[in-house]
Symmetry: C2
Subunit: 135 residues, 2 copies
């Protein structure tokens, strides 16, 4: 079974390739901007600076054939299945990034600490449930 | 830009339709079983009962054209953009479910409290970072 995901936006970042990118957002990732498609601007209603959200991205430079990796690329660590790691290389390379909204102006959203590369397609935004418990 | 996601497994659950399903897993969702494709069994290496993981699913009964909803379907609440809610109806209906692995036998994984419906395709499994901080 296969389904089509459509980018609803993309990342603008100073991170240009995987060698530059920290492994997680809290390991030195820079601020970035998500530029949404005009067609989904209504879906942003209710979001505001200060909110913590989960960004779902499509890690378009990942290798989808990888099933086993050395965690964090450390060859001294025993190999693990990708479902037990956050490796970008996995059958469906969906990135999950917890960020804080710093500014939101129309379809441009500036966010904290995002380890996604420049140009990465964005698939979805979800509120963090442990902060917005009633949604 | 569009990308193809491929199911790596599917949910077996007593929940048959949306009217039965709780809105979140911690609101009375039952245990469920995820049956993975044989082709991805290696990707499960390193997972074990007791681990908390994030399941990413494809909410195949969602309406992808919905951009604005009343949160939790409550018409007394003001409408909000779907990116500010956890509504299954959204442009890319990717479900995100935090569960505990109860048993893992080959390609069958029994998990706690899953609000996804029977037959829901599974796209990915990721460790919860705040518990497995080194991955």
């Amino acid at each position: 079974m296969s389904f089509a995901v459509n980018a609803v936006g993309r990342v603008e970042s100073s991170l240009r390739d995987r060698a530059d990118a920290p492994r997680q957002g809290d390991e030195g990732a820079p601020e970035a901007v998500v530029v949404f498609e005009d067609a989904v601007v209504e879906a942003l209603g209710g979001l505001a600076p200060g909110a913590e959200v989960l960004l779902l991205t499509w890690l378009d430079r990942a290798d989808r054939g990888t099933l086993v990796v050395h965690p964090r690329g450390d060859l001294t660590r025993p190999p693990a299945g990708v479902f037990a790691t956050r490796s970008p290389d996995r059958p469906n390379p969906i990135g999950l990034h917890r960020v804080t909204i710093l500014a939101l102006d129309g379809t441009r959203m500036r966010v904290s600490r995002l380890e996604a590369l420049d140009g990465t397609p964005v698939l979805d935004v979800k509120p963090v449930l442990d902060r917005i418990a009633d949604r």
